[in-house]
């Protein structure tokens, strides 16, 4: 009885194998996401897939079931064993994977962090691809918030987790902008709360914000889970015209809120372009067309000229894209 089940499992396995096989190509690239079921990575994967069709590389996306710190390690080990040429990864931990990434690089594999970096462990990867210069996220978000509330009143931040490096970079920049730019002198940041990127927790925190700060006029949620939860709360309470919600969100998740006026505008970048750029960059480095050193400039179709910045970081775009009623339907991610 047991044997039969195992055989059935095998059959299932073969089926998946067959569908995963692709046309012959000049190199193999794999992208390891944070976890499966995260809609954000679908668009990054789309960029990889399309770029690989053009360049002729073999691409696969894998991701662990949970975003726990060590969950990506077996996947990196397996990819090393499979002999891929490029490992692109959205890291779940800033340092837990250092050893295994070093092992990959020692085997001659190009290691890229895409959409997030291993902050403080930059020496353990070859290059990092970020959608925008993250120092601009903070000021951009504050400006958008200001424009929605007339640059006046109490605002709060609904973030993800207390130790998320990107979030903390952005929040620090927001605070700095609010404090230093006289344009925002009437805007007062009253609280920063953390919803752990869980919808339930984010909702509770948002509700607590509303009851703790009755004079609140705006909430910035620079996380896709947070902005959706925040929008849902103001919508269900019918106070969208009193408390304005904005932040970083996925058009696919925010479309309804924008269309019904709950959220007038929010921002993000194109995750698609991250995959696209990563594939072209890998191709260039592996074929000797691009030298992976700070200051190198190279051209990527449809993105234009890209420069390798300090710590081997590249950005796909200069400023954040703002989504509103006018353009939301043009984006399919």
């Amino acid at each position: 009885m047991l044997k039969k089940t195992v055989l059935a499992g095998l059959a299932l396995g073969f089926g998946l194998m067959a569908s995963a096989a692709m046309a012959a190509s000049n190199f193999k690239v794999v992208y390891i996401g944070k976890n499966t079921g995260n809609p954000y990575f679908d668009s990054i994967t789309g960029g990889f897939v399309d770029a690989c069709k053009k360049i002729g590389c073999e691409f696969e996306f894998v991701a662990p079931a949970t975003a726990e710190a060590t969950s990506q390690i077996p996947f990196i080990e397996a990819q090393i064993q499979r002999g891929v040429n490029v490992i692109a990864i959205a890291p779940n931990s800033p340092d837990a994977m250092n050893q295994v990434l070093d092992k990959a690089r020692a085997k001659g594999i190009l290691v890229l962090t895409v959409n997030g970096d291993i902050v403080g462990s930059e020496g353990h990867r070859d290059a990092n691809i970020l959608p925008v210069d993250f120092t601009k996220t903070g000021p951009n978000q504050v400006e958008l918030m200001g424009s929605m509330i007339g640059y006046k009143g109490e605002i709060a931040i609904l973030s993800a987790t207390t130790e998320a490096p990107d979030q903390n970079t952005w929040i620090a920049a927001m605070k700095k902008t609010l404090a230093e730019n006289p344009k925002y002198k009437d805007m007062k940041l009253v609280a920063t709360v953390y919803g752990d990127d869980q919808p339930e927790k984010s909702t509770t925190e948002m509700e607590a914000l509303l009851s703790n700060y009755p004079n609140l006029v705006g909430v910035i949620a620079p996380t896709t889970v947070g902005i959706a939860a925040g929008a849902q709360v103001v919508k269900s309470r019918g106070i969208a015209n009193k408390v304005h919600v904005t932040g970083l969100g996925l058009p696919s998740e925010m479309r309804d809120f924008v269309k019904d006026g709950t959220v007038s505008a929010f921002q993000l970048w194109s995750p698609y372009n991250e995959g696209w750029l990563a594939a072209y960059f890998a191709d260039g480095v592996l074929n000797g067309k691009i030298k992976n050193t700070v200051g190198t400039k190279f051209d990527v179709p449809s993105l234009g000229s890209i420069t390798i910045l300090e710590k081997n970081v590249m950005n796909t775009q200069a400023e954040l894209t703002t989504f509103d009623k006018a353009n939301i339907d043009k984006f399919n991610f």
Partner: protein, 336 residues
């Protein structure tokens, strides 16, 4: 049917009214859960080779085992706990808390012996809390350890927040150390398995663990200090969790509160798959040892084949259920 002669000096012979006939020797040797585990292991290695051409590489398989060596180590001690008729679902969380404390101490550059004492001591305290609740207050271990599972990991999160704590470079890399051609964590696991198998199979103490798990009341009546045995097992689980945490840290170079999250499922699975009887009294270290290898091979094989991790979840779930069905079936056949 004739009765055997009655009397003090009669020969020892049994009629079928006195005792059921014994099972044939081949059945005693082969019809046991460990055999099934071994067959599955062979099948899994074969299947892994079929799924991916990159899989059948002994070096790779041995290296991959280091990824689950810590949890496997805990599964060995958990096997003893289950044989004694209890269960402990908290060691993965205890490992995380102890490892966070250990790394925290190291980050202050405190002397190594203090750091180790903090690590081991915290494991001991967590084991003591479990035993106080389970043995002292006689609460069911399954529910108590579901509670402390949440509590210990929660405390790790309170202490370490969401950030990872790094340890000094010199401490990193136990999995790169090769002894006799084996990565150190693998060797530690094998040595621990041999030691525990000896303890369980050859010593009075091991014998009493089985007796406690088979029939605790009878064990008490036979003068076996069952409470002491169980308390020691829970303490040992705590200490093993802290040791596993230290190995884990050396492998990763850093630790976060979510270390080994969900590891309790894997540990229970290893014990069950190895033929440990969930109600206590039966099971072997050999079984858990084989099951730990089996799980490592399955997960490595499937990851190497780039199968959806969801498929692994399904396979693990199905294996868990099938393994207890098979174990129960075999035990019910061998015991009337």
């Amino acid at each position: 049917m004739s009765e055997a002669p009655v009397g003090l000096n009669s020969t020892v012979s049994a009629t079928h009214r006195d005792a059921a006939p014994p099972r044939p020797l081949w059945q005693v040797i082969f019809v046991r859960p460990e055999t099934l585990t071994f067959v599955l292991l062979v099948l899994a290695i074969f299947a892994g080779g079929q799924l991916s051409p990159y899989f059948l590489d002994i070096r790779y398989i041995l290296d991959s085992f280091t990824l689950t060596a810590e949890l496997s180590l805990l599964a060995l001690i958990l096997t003893l706990v289950i044989i004694a008729g209890e269960i402990d679902l908290s060691p993965a969380s205890a490992m995380a808390l102890s490892a966070c404390l250990f790394a925290y101490a190291m980050s202050f550059d405190w002397p190594m012996w203090i750091c180790v004492s903090i690590g081991i001591g915290s494991g001991l305290i967590m084991g003591a809390i479990n035993s106080a609740l389970i043995i002292g207050l006689q609460l069911p271990s399954i529910i108590v350890t579901i509670g402390t599972l949440t509590l210990y990991r929660g405390l790790a999160q309170v202490i370490a927040g969401d950030k990872s704590i790094r340890v000094p470079e010199w401490y990193i890399g136990i999995d790169k150390v090769q002894v006799l051609g084996l990565p150190a964590p693998d060797l530690i696991f094998i040595l621990a398995a041999i030691a525990l198998a000896f303890l369980l199979g050859m010593t009075v103490w091991g014998r009493q663990i089985y007796q406690t798990g088979t029939n605790e009341t009878a064990a008490i009546y036979a003068g076996i200090r069952t409470r002491r045995i169980k308390a020691v097992l829970f303490l040992a689980t705590g200490v093993t969790a802290s040791i596993a945490g230290m190995i884990f840290i050396s492998r990763l170079g850093s630790v976060r509160y979510d270390l080994g999250l969900g590891g309790e499922l894997q540990m229970v699975l290893m014990a069950m798959l190895g033929g440990t009887y969930i109600f206590g009294g039966r099971g072997t270290i050999l079984g858990t040892f084989l099951a730990a290898l089996l799980l490592s091979v399955i997960s490595t094989g499937m990851t190497t084949a780039n199968l959806l991790p969801a498929t692994q979840l399904c396979v693990l779930g199905v294996l868990l259920v099938l393994s207890i069905i098979a174990t129960n079936f075999i035990y019910s056949r061998t015991q009337r």
